[in-house]
């Protein structure tokens, strides 16, 4: 399956961009579960998921997939800081989603998100700008 077929299958109107030896597809309303199922079916491996802040209080989420040595990156946005979980489709996502939840308090619907790198009593989202530890200020470097 080549890149164009993947794009059409996902119903994305955008175009693939080649940046720094990797392919990028920006789709603000990507159907994450459909994408994950498709990628698993064609034998692709989930490398990781990257989250980063965008100014409007939402998060930019990038799914990085490895397809026979090529790196395909699906870029999408969260809706009210939530995305569906793909852990049941690709078990790798288990720790990845937990870590993103710890860092940014992004919710992945359809699963429990126990803390991975934080203590149980800590609130998630330490990478958010306005986050403060109890008794310790975390907003400065």
């Amino acid at each position: 399956m080549d890149l164009e077929e993947i794009r059409e299958h996902l119903g994305s109107m955008e175009v693939w961009v080649n940046k720094a030896k990797a392919w990028w597809l920006e789709t603000p309303n990507l159907d994450v579960e459909k994408m994950a199922r498709l990628m698993v079916d064609i034998g692709s491996r989930l490398v990781t998921v990257t989250a980063s802040r965008v100014p409007e209080g939402e998060f930019r989420i990038i799914y990085h997939w490895d397809l026979q040595g090529q790196l395909l990156n699906f870029v999408t946005l969260t809706h009210q800081a939530t995305l569906p979980s793909i852990m049941s489709i690709s078990p790798v996502a288990d720790w990845i989603e937990r870590e993103i939840h710890d860092y940014f308090a992004v919710d992945f619907a359809g699963r429990k998100l126990p803390t991975l790198v934080l203590s149980e009593k800590d609130p998630p989202g330490i990478f958010s700008w306005n986050f403060l530890w109890k008794g310790k200020e975390g907003g400065h470097a």
Binding site: L118, S119, D122, I126, F131, W133, G138
Partner: protein, 157 residues
Amino acid sequence: MRLIKKLVSMARRRSPWLFHLNTGGCNGCDIEFSACLAPRYDVEQAGILLVGSPRHADILCVTGPVTRGTRAALETIYAQMPEPKVVVALGNCPATCDVFAGSPAIEGPLDRILPVDVYVPGCPPRPHDLIKGVAQAVAILADQQPRDRRIIEGVNQ
């Protein structure tokens, strides 16, 4: 009585048992620590032994900047060690937090939590420096009366 005191001091000089504790460092110091056990540095010739249980140890060797996750364990392990005991801060991390200074996940440096007796600087310190640091710790151990409990509590607050 004086003879016994002298004998004990001699024994403490010659048989320091170490407990190694990584409080969330990068492993660099820890590998160098393991390298000290290996043939080239062979610390056993000086009677130094790495023990698995803090209850057997005389010297606590701490590496890493003390993360939030390890602080409780660090305090428990320090309390489990029988007196007299000495704390050695191995590497820059327990001394200053090194590159990790300022991170919200760090509770260190170590001297905010425990009384530190010897600092061994370096990122990571060479095995020679580690051995030198242990030698300093041993000298403290040999002449040390059991440490006043109040001081420790004062530091903990």
